[in-house]
């Protein structure tokens, strides 16, 4: 016969284990596939933001140039972060 109490204990232990595992393992192939577009997308978005800020504030090239540089940095950040995720996973 099963001891119900013990079974319950085991079950709650398992549940706790699951809840502890909050920072989960990531699927590596999925992350590997996102790296390529990630770099470009950040630059694209940053350029758009810079373009519109310039248009809005009449400061023609400055925001655009600044945000393109920030966008490149953000893109590299994204890629580094993804690469770290793969190493961790």
């Amino acid at each position: 016969m099963f001891d119900l109490e013990e079974l319950k204990k085991k079950l709650s232990q398992k549940k706790n284990l699951k809840e502890e595992k909050l920072s989960p393992k990531n699927t590596q192939l999925g992350i590997a596939f996102k790296i390529g577009t990630e770099l470009v997308a950040a630059v694209f978005v940053a350029t758009l933001i810079g373009w519109y800020l310039d248009k809005w504030l009449n400061t023609k090239p400055f925001f655009l140039i600044g945000f393109i540089i920030l966008g490149i940095i953000a893109g590299i950040f994204n890629v580094v972060r993804s690469a770290k995720m793969i190493n961790k996973g």
């Binding site: 989960p24 990531n26 999925g30 992350i31 596939f33 996102k34 950040a42 920030l70 953000a74």
Partner: protein, 243 residues
């Protein structure tokens, strides 16, 4: 030789239907969306009609898909994301079927339209942001604050974090769209070579397009999977903020 981009043309089918300023007429794109949705419904209907302990072939397939997605959500978004299982499953199956149906000759690939993939990506992006704010309130903004950074660098890094957050829907949509567009264009180009080189020289491009078709099946699956995985990862960021 036929234009390889002609296959991506969207045109109206049947009578035009106009409500207010919105054009609701059927197009080939919407018809293929309906077809995919119907295919998924029929697939699950037939699979779960006679559920038994010893499953039939379709039931096994259904359970396979179910477990596949459940496991993926568990691995990428953790315990708390279980509530979003129906959404992720629907998203994955819908994109997968649209990609797969698009591979049939004369079929239209809905996911090769940037507006379709962008809508998907924006739904996820806005949804995840709303979920983040609903779960954590204003402190959700902390995901823009990297930890352990000297104070004078903070404004710059916050801007960078915001840019990288805003770039998510762009990269998500462009990836799916570009992969489908490029693959189908390649198939069409090689198909055109077969026709123009004729029965003597056509065998080389023909064998290429056979190989490409296999590759495209892989890409169709992989892109749907990547889309679902990334939605899970974004969901994970919103649900379990790690800082």
């Amino acid at each position: 030789m036929a234009n390889p981009m002609q296959q991506f043309e969207v045109y109206k089918i049947g009578p035009s239907l106009q409500i207010g300023n919105i054009d609701l007429s059927l197009t080939n794109s919407s018809i293929f969306m309906f077809t995919s949705a119907a295919f998924i419904l029929v697939f699950f209907f037939l699979g779960t009609k006679n559920v038994s302990t010893i499953p039939g072939k379709l039931q096994i397939l259904n359970e396979l898909v179910f477990n596949f997605i459940a496991k993926m959500i568990d691995e990428t978004a953790g315990y708390k994301a279980k509530n979003y299982f129906p959404f992720i499953l629907t998203l994955f199956l819908f994109i997968l079927t649209m990609n797969m149906i698009g591979l049939f000759p004369y079929a239209f690939t809905v996911t090769s339209q940037i507006i379709v993939t962008l809508s998907f990506a924006l739904i996820i992006f806005i949804g995840v942001t709303v979920i983040g704010f609903a779960k954590h309130g204003v402190s959700f903004l902390k995901i823009f604050l990297p930890s352990g950074i000297p104070i004078f660098l903070l404004p710059l890094l916050v801007v960078i974090e915001v840019i990288s957050y805003l770039s998510r829907p762009v990269s998500l949509s462009v990836r799916l769209f570009a992969n489908m567009l490029a693959g189908h264009t390649m198939l069409k180009v090689f198909g055109g070579f077969v026709v123009s080189l004729g029965i003597i020289g056509g065998w080389l491009p023909f064998s290429f397009s056979v190989l490409l078709t296999a590759l495209e099946i892989l890409v169709a699956f992989l892109q749907a999977y990547v889309f679902a995985v990334l939605s899970c990862i974004y969901l994970n960021d919103a649900l379990n903020m790690h800082h």
